[in-house]
């Protein structure tokens, strides 16, 4: 079935659009295969609203007399209302939106059709590959190598084709280790600390099962990771009880007797459905009209969203402590190793590694730790906070990461090169995008669908100088230090920039931010060491010869 067959009514005139904090507008509504387009009827300077259908999370229809109202709730949390004259048109539009916003076939999605004139499809896709990362990271060369055993994705379907492994462990052992780990996700290098060479590894749970199976190769692999140093830490993202229970279904944990040099610490993290429901409750609480403080606080608490933020940052802090302060290597895993594992390992890197705090560095981190590492974006981000569809595999772990990064930025506003705007943009793109970056669930799927050949890369486009500028933090001052966020509940806050994004409040904040920008710009213009239009030095330079002259005159 062609996409266009879903469209029974393509155009409606005289539609009224209502948005929060804006006057209602009348204009024409248009449905295309991928977009909803509204444009007001003024000829000159006409205003348009273009919404990706994929951005629409839920719609509600209501009949009022002969006309209908459609409420559109977007995945970026915007809520719109359209008043459409004519009941039939209204129903047609609604059913088109419903059908077209929930397409499942990747190649039918908009990134495969997005062809802006300034971008070409030829050329490398993405920012970096495992091989390139290895080449650039000199500290790895001694003890680590790139293994391409997964080049046909047969060892681990969700891993990229190349991974970084200890030199002394050969590919055969890795294959055995992979068989011993859920989904084949054997321990791979995630980060090597630039100050002491300690590493963060990540994997999925070992398949020890009820009868405590063991795998010599897996043990050897982990032994090789710590390379003679006496201790490593396994941060298991489940409670001890949950880990025990996992054995009943074939999973399990690394037992002390077989992994004698590793110490295991359990930290409970919620996952899957629970986190998705948190998001739903939180968004609901944010739009609660009751204005009662007690009700708000109890709903906020009940959503547990901030508790998830709290645990993610705490565990990341724990990993950083092991690596940075105590000088031990760490292995992080939960069950599948595709969600909380990535959350913790990437947060730990942000805290530890100054390189991951630049715009490029952060995007590379996301590419390495989320895209290439096989976070199932398509499943996790199929729906957002408004959808009434039965939950399948949705889970806003990536949004949780962005929230945690925002908390770090709040506490260290000078340490990140990027601003909140970048996080907001990513929060939007991950659910609906013109670009192919967040399509599919793994490298293998992306390969099969031809994502790299047929779509544009978001990260590359964000790094174009004119675009990147919008996402820079004007106050950025690079620091080499680790930035440990405080995790007292009093230090964590609701991410108003995201959750109250479409309110007047956001407008005031934006204006204040612009003011900060202009102060900083003025500062750079006047005192910036490397600007040519530096007024102060210009004047000084003009003055110097005169002063010299004066001096000579005085001497005479």
């Amino acid at each position: 079935m062609e996409l266009s067959e879903h469209i029974k009514t393509a155009n409606v005139e005289d539609v009224t659009l209502r948005r929060p904090f804006h006057p209602a507008l009348r204009g024409t509504l248009c449905v295309t295969s991928h977009h909803l387009l509204f444009s007001d009827r003024k000829d000159e300077a006409s205003w348009q609203l273009l919404i990706l259908l994929k951005n629409i999370d839920a719609i509600e229809k209501r009949a009022v007399g002969s006309s209908g109202t459609i409420t559109i709730k977007c995945k970026d949390l915007l809520v719109l209302q359209l008043e459409i004259p004519g009941m039939e048109e209204c129903l047609n539009i609604a059913s088109s939106i419903e059908a077209l916003s929930s397409l499942e076939s990747v190649t039918e999605m908009y990134p495969f059709f997005y062809r802006p004139s300034h971008l070409t499809l030829n050329g490398p896709w993405g920012l970096s590959s495992t091989e390139q990362y290895y080449k650039q990271t000199e500290r790895l060369w001694d003890r680590w190598r790139v293994s391409t055993l997964n080049s046909d994705y047969s060892v681990c379907p969700s891993y990229p084709s190349a991974v970084i492994m200890p030199r002394e462990v050969d590919d055969d052992k890795l294959i055995r280790s992979a068989r011993f780990r859920q989904g084949g996700r054997f321990p791979v290098l995630s980060y090597c600390h630039h100050r002491n060479g300690m590493v963060i590894m990540r994997s999925s749970q070992p398949l020890t099962g009820a009868n405590k199976k063991r795998c010599k190769e897996d043990e050897l692999l982990l032994q090789a990771v710590i390379d003679g140093s006496e201790l490593g830490y396994i941060i298991d993202l489940r409670s001890a009880q949950q880990a025990q229970q996992a054995r009943m279904t074939g999973g399990g944990f690394e037992s002390k007797s077989f992994y004698s040099h590793w110490k295991r610490i359990h930290r409970h993290h919620e996952r899957g459905k629970v986190v998705q429901e948190s998001l739903i409750k939180l968004v609901e609480a944010c739009s609660d009209p009751s204005h009662s403080v007690d009700r708000w606080l109890s709903k906020l608490e009940n959503s547990k969203w901030l508790s998830h933020v709290h645990s993610a940052l705490s565990t990341a802090g724990l990993v950083v402590e092991c690596v940075e302060r105590d000088g031990h290597s760490v292995l992080v895993h939960g069950s599948e190793g595709t969600d909380n594992t990535l959350l913790v390992s990437s947060l730990a890197q942000l805290i530890l590694d100054p390189a991951s705090r630049t715009v490029t560095g952060f995007l590379c981190l996301l590419e390495r730790e989320w895209i290439q590492a096989g976070h199932p974006f398509q499943q996790r981000c199929a729906h957002s906070a408004y959808s009434h569809a039965r939950l399948k595999q949705e889970c806003p772990i990536f949004l949780l990461l962005l929230d945690c990064v925002w908390q770090v930025w709040r506490q260290f506003p000078l340490a990140l090169e990027f601003s909140e705007a970048l996080l907001l943009r990513l929060a939007q793109e991950v659910y609906a995008s013109n670009y192919g970056t967040f399509l599919c669930n793994s490298e293998q799927e992306r390969c099969a669908a031809g994502v790299k050949e047929n779509t544009h890369c978001l990260f590359q486009s964000l790094l174009r100088p004119d675009i990147e500028e919008q996402y820079l933090n004007p106050l950025y001052e690079p620091t080499d230090l680790a930035i440990w966020p405080s995790v007292h509940p009093q230090s964590l806050q609701l991410w108003t920039g995201l959750f109250l994004r479409w309110t007047e409040y956001a407008q005031n904040m934006e204006e204040a931010r612009e003011e900060v920008w202009s102060i900083v710009k003025e500062h750079h213009e006047q005192a910036g060491p490397d600007r040519t239009n530096n007024t102060l030095s210009t004047h000084c330079d003009t003055l110097t010869p005169f002063e010299n002259l004066m001096d000579e005159l005085t001497i005479l």
């Binding site: 201790l231 610490i265 009751s290 403080v293 007690d294 606080l297 109890s298 906020l300 608490e301 901030l306 709290h310 565990t315 802090g317 724990l318 402590e321 302060r325 105590d326 709040r410 506490q411 260290f412 506003p413 000078l414 340490a415 106050l475 620091t479 230090l481 680790a482 930035i483 440990w484 966020p485 405080s486 995790v487 007292h488 509940p489 009093q490 230090s491 108003t496 309110t503 409040y505 005031n508 204006e511 204040a512 003011e515 900060v516 102060i519 003025e522 500062h523 006047q526 005192a527 060491p529 490397d530 040519t532 007024t535 210009t538 004047h539 000084c540 330079d541 003009t542 003055l543 005169f546």
Partner: protein, 643 residues
């Protein structure tokens, strides 16, 4: 000094509030301060606690390491000392007990504090705020409002100021009659005049109406207020109490206005709780946020149960109602509660702040406090426990007002000339008794104490370091486009004020400050502009035209100018030894330390990382367990930076 038995104790341990960390140092007791100096010479932290700031002390039972002494301060600092010898602890405790309960006003710090100013400077300090000029700015006296001399000798109302503004049609007999019908004689007077609509905000105390009593003069008084405003046929009477409280007061011969007896009034209850509820609420709040290793759930539940933010919102809602009635409907409003010096002050002051951009400037905010709080007799001495230890009179009413203003600064980052440090500093000094402004309960009492002759004014002090309190993103044009602030009353906009209630808990604060950074930039922009101007003038002297200037040589590298020394947040810790300055240093000194550049030092655990207390977890147990000596000393990181 005769009360100090042990002026100095060594080897005292200071425990961190949220962790197991501690430092050793020496405790000094002076006539005005308790001072702790850390022994470790590299960091040598100093803590100065003014006796007046101490709210309560507790001597805990003796432990193996010594005798614990817990001190809770009114500025929400909490210190926990362990003193090795029980004897010393007892001496310190009993000396402090005497020192922090002054029996007469003369013992308050303000009367001995001397900032090395001469009498003329002192006098000028007191003349900074002129309330007559303030009423003139509002457009009063005018054809409808006049200054009355009825209270010149404090004969009609002891707790009101001498100068009062009333409608021209309110004659002396009416005023006197009305005052007799009002609790404590606090009859309706003008506090703010909204010139644009000629609408007035008046304040008073509750009427002594009981179940049926009425007073014609009082009815005339309200009539006069109503008549003074031609824009509206009615006036609002806001009773800021919950209806139940007002009803209960009727049994005691007090109560509220009966709409049948007063023509053209619209009566409205607002529902702000009384001082006792507020005191209890703050106590609950402090208990919750003072808990060690607090979970997110317990924090949010505790915040809700304390009711604190609900009370803050109730005050804000009342102020918004007031501002709307005046600016939108153009109606005059009469505000009262029971005695008209707590809730009434909160609502009138906050309402005026919403209506008038002037009160959102540094000078204007001082005027506002002087007018609605100091002159109209908010009982600072009782509420802030300056002298008389009647704990039932203590209540954080003024703190709530400051917090409401802070909530507004969060919603409108560009609307205020000052930053939150200004509010926090005022709060600090309301309790410090270092300046004369807030001493006593009424203007009359202040005159008896001769405060203007014997003490210094806080406002002069704050203005002298104004640059520390500036909001760098303040935009006067915002005031033009938003003369009246319309804050959102959605509950999610009411936040916990961490910098107030955890001011001294370093580990909770952001490690870097946008505010400080932007202030620094702005200051240096200003300085550079000055330099450029000076250079231009010089060039002109040489006869060179400065306007289209082209660089003759490529500009050389210039490092950024040094940060202004005076900046609060970046203040170097030079002058900490000076008692006079110690107050400000206390507030911001700790921040300053965190912000010391992280580059050069040998010790890399910079950036305000006292660490430990964290929340990375209950890991101490699981992590540093017995057979792992390598990790026993794990300290769990609080926000900090290391390398």
């Amino acid at each position: 000094m005769e009360h100090i038995r042990t002026p100095k104790v060594e080897q005292v341990k200071l425990l961190d509030r949220f962790s197991n960390k501690s430092v050793i140092g020496t405790l000094h007791l002076t006539a005005t301060h308790l001072i702790f100096v850390e022994s470790n010479s590299t960091s040598a932290q100093e803590i100065w606690i003014l006796h007046h700031h101490i709210a309560s002390m507790e001597k805990l039972s003796l432990t193996t390491s010594g005798c614990p002494l817990l001190i809770q301060c009114r500025n929400f600092r909490l210190v926990h000392f362990v003193i090795p010898r029980e004897r010393d602890c007892h001496d310190i405790y009993s000396s402090l007990l005497r020192l922090l309960r002054p029996v007469s006003y003369d013992e308050l710090y303000a009367f001995s504090y001397n900032p090395k100013q001469n009498d003329q400077q002192r006098e000028e300090g007191w003349q900074l705020i002129d309330l007559a000029a303030e009423f003139e700015r509002m457009g009063v006296p005018c054809d409808q409002w006049q200054l009355t001399d009825v209270n010149r000798e404090y004969k009609v109302c002891e707790t009101y100021p001498r100068d009062l503004y009333v409608p021209i049609t309110a004659s002396k007999p009416i005023i006197v009659g009305s005052s007799k019908f009002r609790s404590k004689g606090r009859f309706p007077v003008l506090t703010y005049f909204y010139q644009e609509k000629k609408a007035a905000v008046c304040r008073c105390s509750q009427p002594l109406s009981g179940f049926s009593a009425r007073c014609l003069e009082d009815e005339h008084m309200l009539q006069a207020i109503s008549k003074a405003n031609h824009n509206s046929r009615y006036i609002y009477v806001m009773d800021t109490r919950p209806k139940l409280n007002a009803l209960a007061n009727r049994a005691a011969g007090k109560g509220y206005e009966n709409e049948d007896n007063y023509s053209n009034i619209r009566f409205q209850f607002v529902g702000i709780e009384n001082i006792h509820v507020m005191r209890g609420s703050l106590q609950k709040l402090l208990e919750v946020v003072g808990t060690r290793s607090l979970s997110m759930t317990d924090y949010l539940v505790g915040l809700e149960n304390s009711g604190w933010l609900r009370h803050i919102k109730a005050i804000m809602d009342a102020a918004i109602f007031l501002a709307k009635a005046v600016t939108v409907e153009g109606a005059s409003v009469l505000v009262h509660c029971s005695d008209g010096w707590d809730r009434t002050a909160q609502v009138c002051a906050l309402g005026s702040l919403l209506m008038d951009p002037y009160y959102r400037t540094i000078k204007g905010f001082m005027v506002l406090i002087e007018k609605d709080w100091i002159s109209f007799g908010h009982k600072f001495a009782d509420r802030c426990d300056q002298l008389d230890p009647d704990q039932k009179e203590v209540s954080p009413i003024f703190t709530q007002f400051l917090e409401c203003v802070w909530q507004l600064t969060e919603q409108f980052p560009q609307a205020f000339e000052f930053s939150e440090w200004f509010l926090i500093q005022i709060h600090e000094h309301v309790h410090s008794c270092q300046f004369g402004n807030f001493l006593g309960n009424s203007q009359r009492q202040r005159e008896v104490l001769q405060l203007k002759e014997r003490t210094y004014s806080l406002w002069a002090h704050l203005l002298s370091e104004k640059q520390n309190y500036m909001n760098p993103v303040y935009s006067p044009s915002f005031a033009e486009s938003h003369p009246v602030l319309e804050p959102s009353t959605q509950a999610c906009h009411f936040k916990f004020w961490r910098n107030m209630y955890h001011q001294y808990d370093r580990s909770m604060h952001p490690r870097q400050s946008i505010l400080k950074q932007v202030l620094t930039f702005k200051e240096s922009n200003r300085e550079l502009e000055g330099t450029v101007q000076a250079l231009k003038t010089k060039l002109q002297k040489f006869g060179v035209s400065t306007s289209p200037l082209k660089p003759q040589t490529p500009p050389r590298d210039r490092s950024l100018p040094p940060r202004p020394q005076s900046l609060i947040l970046g203040a170097p810790l030079l002058s900490r030894k000076e008692v006079q300055q110690e107050e400000d240093e206390e507030v911001f000194g700790e921040e300053a330390r965190e912000d010391a550049p992280a580059s050069t030092d040998g010790e890399r655990t910079v950036e305000g990382s006292s660490a430990t207390e964290n929340g990375y977890g209950e890991l101490t147990g699981s992590f540093g367990s017995k057979n792992e000596p390598a990790v026993v000393t794990l300290e769990f990181g609080v926000a900090r930076m290391t390398c």
